[in-house]
Symmetry: none
Amino acid sequence: MKTKATIIFAACVWISCMGQAQIPGTTTLDLEKAARIAHAAHERAMQDEWNVAIVILDAGGHMLYFKRMDGTQLASIDVAIEKAKTALFYKRPTKIFQDRLAQGEAAILSLPDMMPFEGGLPVTIDGVVVGSIGVSGVTAQQDGIIAAAGLNAL
Amino acid sequence: MKTKATIIFAACVWISCMGQAQIPGTTTLDLEKAARIAHAAHERAMQDEWNVAIVILDAGGHMLYFKRMDGTQLASIDVAIEKAKTALFYKRPTKIFQDRLAQGEAAILSLPDMMPFEGGLPVTIDGVVVGSIGVSGVTAQQDGIIAAAGLNAL
Amino acid sequence: MKTKATIIFAACVWISCMGQAQIPGTTTLDLEKAARIAHAAHERAMQDEWNVAIVILDAGGHMLYFKRMDGTQLASIDVAIEKAKTALFYKRPTKIFQDRLAQGEAAILSLPDMMPFEGGLPVTIDGVVVGSIGVSGVTAQQDGIIAAAGLNAL
Amino acid sequence: MKTKATIIFAACVWISCMGQAQIPGTTTLDLEKAARIAHAAHERAMQDEWNVAIVILDAGGHMLYFKRMDGTQLASIDVAIEKAKTALFYKRPTKIFQDRLAQGEAAILSLPDMMPFEGGLPVTIDGVVVGSIGVSGVTAQQDGIIAAAGLNAL
């Protein structure tokens, strides 16, 4: 009985510790993960010599990481940030709003924190939105390819 | 004579009280009523496991009460507030503007304090607009169902 | 052996579920907790017949809960929100900035998201800032008393 | 004589070419250099376990690179950016304005793009201001130490 109790206790401690470790580890986007995502997106952009700005936001929509490749148009700084904010605040890819607008749903234009161009994606860990990535600089479709490559790094 | 005077005086007091009671008493939205409306809306949302933000504004368009259910997308904070503001400032349900925009009336987009999505309703007491409710988080139609359930509590 | 394995498995599931529950429970401020804090602050305000606006923000500085008592000056809506934002963004009571400014540190006035009046407090769980409370309506000192009473409810 | 003139001429051409090559090479802040500065600042911050946000702006005051260490207060995102903007727009360390304000020159508060706290420094190459660094998260003096360490990497 003693042994069994000990095993159960050990299992409890082990699982409990895992739970503790998971709290900041899996439900938060830290700088290390943000940099990893941005690095992967940057690598993808360089592959095609695409010049873009890349931003990673945390779960509250606050900036964690940003880099702008040489030669990127200045407007892309804010466009990237706004795409990331849209993806985070609405918990979905910005492409969804681009498509709805293209299909004639003009009301999209009146939504707050709305940048209806592909290139913004929520970052999800264990089904929870923990942040987002925004990319801008080339076409919206290419921006989207870069953003997706970033997410693949997680 | 004395009796007649007393009766007239009593009638005056009674009418005066009614008048008094109606002006600030029934045509103002106080915190108690606002919370009651929001509570009913919240109950309706939980019934279908819909996660939304609910806001109640007073007759001046200023916030009286707000609550955001767990899991609601962050964008819905501002969308709910803007829907309520639209309903209050234009004294009509936001769905009216959604429909007009959907029918091609793009000029709607240039109106101030305009959130042309269902889910915002004026709160009316004795025919007077005394405030408004705004709901956001699920589809515009579902937001509208929740807002209407809130009004039913009055 | 089978029984032991079953017990361990059951324990695992049970603890795992607890772990799941703990993730939002201990490091997140949910609506239930936010309402509890606001309710306690409201009770304290009523005790002295103080009319105030009370707001609770989440870890990203986004509104979770808000209520404004009848008779509260309209300015207190934004003042309460800004106090809560200051407490959250700077991870400390707003009174610290009020004191520094009173001691002549004028540079405080140029800081972003800065409302240097007592009445804003971070909400901390297990040493982590998970949100904040902001109160405004009476004197800054009284606002501070109400905010502190709110935190005591946790 | 002729030979000497030829040699001098050749040397001039050679140096001139080097100069040409140096113009875009040394008077522009590219992403590689920005990341190097930020990396050195980050290293210095970690040495004392200081949590800060670090930003590098280009010659136009536009963001090139940003990173926020885990645990940094959210306000430091904007404070770091504003410090860097001040250093860039006024071509001098932000500490100069902090000192002038501390000496009673309140007019400093009315200047645009002004964040009068140590921690913002212009980045200069060959005597030309090509960008700036902004650091925020610990005390203004410590932020300044980190920013200076970043510049040393150039």
